[in-house]
């Protein structure tokens, strides 16, 4: 490790001033990616601003047709939350598949999406559920939030407060996990609200993306049969020691079919 400054502000305004005053600050959420990154010197910020004590970044609530999750809510809390399990069970299941139990006790929603790892799970949920990211400056639709490999629409120092998820009629997440890291080799989140279907794919490409051709086919019939003839193009997909681009393209079709079936099996009202 190398020497850095650490602050744990108790209030949002204090956190923002601390960030601005520092030479080269980074927000510290759950630290499950950042701490290993610091250990390896892949990033060497001068200051860590720990968000753990800021009450307004925590908690889960439901209002109208929106489920709202604070940025500093850990994966275990989302997985176990009666609100999430009751209103968007697919999201609770997804949170329960992230990493391992110890990681889920520390890792947070805000940290995951700010990092935008190409194989992370949450980005698929935000994109398929048409979620809105609320920051200390503005609201950003999921479609505009995830911009590229480890890149998001967040400005330097911009802080995620919470994510609002519209309640889908039906949704499910299917993941082919790397057995060692538990990251998604490919993960597909399928959601259907009214006659609008959204399919988001993580793990397969450099950044989470929507499967447009599948979505169009599903708008008339949200069934696995409707996408049976659609094959994903391996061009531009990730190819590494775990899976080739061709294999990942194949997995997109398989997992999308399974997610649609699982969403339908859960049924309306979930």
């Amino acid at each position: 490790m190398y020497a850095f400054n650490y602050q744990c502000p108790q209030a949002l305004a204090e956190a923002v001033s601390a960030f601005t005053a520092a030479d080269d600050a980074t927000w510290l959420a759950g630290g499950q990616t950042l701490v290993p990154v610091l250990k390896q010197h892949l990033a060497m910020p001068s200051d860590l601003i720990d968000l753990a004590s800021i009450a307004e970044l925590k908690g889960i609530s439901v209002a109208g047709n929106r489920l709202s999750i604070g940025a500093m809510t850990c994966h275990a809390e989302v997985a176990g939350s009666p609100h999430v399990r009751g209103h968007i069970p697919a999201l609770a299941e997804l949170a329960g598949m992230i990493g391992d139990p110890h990681v889920r006790n520390r890792g947070t929603l805000g940290g995951s999406i700010a990092n935008n790892d190409p194989a992370a799970d949450y980005p698929a949920a935000l994109l398929a559920l048409d979620a809105v990211v609320h920051t200390n400056k503005r609201q950003i639709a999921a479609d505009a939030f995830f911009t590229d490999l480890f890149e998001t629409a967040l400005d330097e120092g911009e802080l995620i407060l919470r994510v609002d998820f519209p309640l889908a009629d039906k949704a499910a997440y299917e993941k082919f996990a790397n057995p060692a890291s538990r990251y998604a080799v490919v993960g597909v989140f399928a959601a259907c609200t009214g006659n609008v279907s959204r399919i988001a794919v993580t793990g397969a490409g450099p950044c989470v993306f929507r499967a447009d051709a599948m979505e169009q086919a599903l708008n008339s019939s949200f069934t696995a049969a409707a996408i049976a003839g659609i094959t994903a193009d391996p061009e531009g997909l990730n190819s590494d020691m775990h899976a080739s681009a061709v294999y990942r393209a194949h997995l997109i079709g398989v997992l999308a079919g399974r997610a649609i079936n699982a969403a339908n099996a859960r049924g309306n009202g979930q």
Binding site: L38, A52, H102
Partner: protein, 156 residues
């Protein structure tokens, strides 16, 4: 240097430490609680699992300062003060759930947290609960048997 105020195994600890100190290094190097092990450099092996406010965490992936005002529990606190083994420790011995023993402290702390949440886990639930712990010698079958046996003893 910042001052950390925390509680480790029920005892208050106040120490000046470098901000970059990992929780596991505080425990091992400064508090000499060497039961918590470091088995990898990538946050994957789980040998360093301790409880932070009762929840299992990887102490190699938590800064010591993140334990400010919180309760840390290590493997040294699992057995009773008179040395009576925890039912999980007894079951690990009975079922030969360890060989070299390096992963065992983390396994036991992970299992203790698992049983706090779920006093009667199925085999699949035990295996899922141990996804963050790697054993490189004896394998998992006997560990799973030990956890289920300990759970039974603890429910009795």
């Amino acid at each position: 240097m910042p001052t950390l105020n925390t509680r480790v195994n029920g005892t208050s600890v106040s120490k000046q430490i470098e901000a970059s100190t990992l929780l596991v290094d505080l425990l091992r190097d400064q508090l000499h609680l060497t039961g918590t092990h470091v088995g990898c450099d990538t946050s994957q092996c789980g040998a360093c699992v301790v409880h932070l406010d009762g929840r299992a965490v990887k102490s190699c992936t938590v800064l010591a300062l993140q334990a400010e005002g919180r309760d840390v529990t290590t493997i040294e606190n699992l057995a009773a003060a008179d040395g009576t083994l925890h039912p999980l420790q007894e079951a690990f011995r009975k079922h030969h759930a360890l060989q070299c023993g390096f992963c065992t402290p983390g396994m036991l702390m992970a299992c203790a947290a698992l049983l706090d949440d779920n006093p009667d886990p199925s085999e699949a639930e035990v295996r899922a609960g141990l996804e963050g712990n790697i054993c490189r010698c004896t394998g998992y079958q006997n560990i799973v048997s030990a956890v289920r046996d300990a759970a039974k003893q603890m429910r009795a």
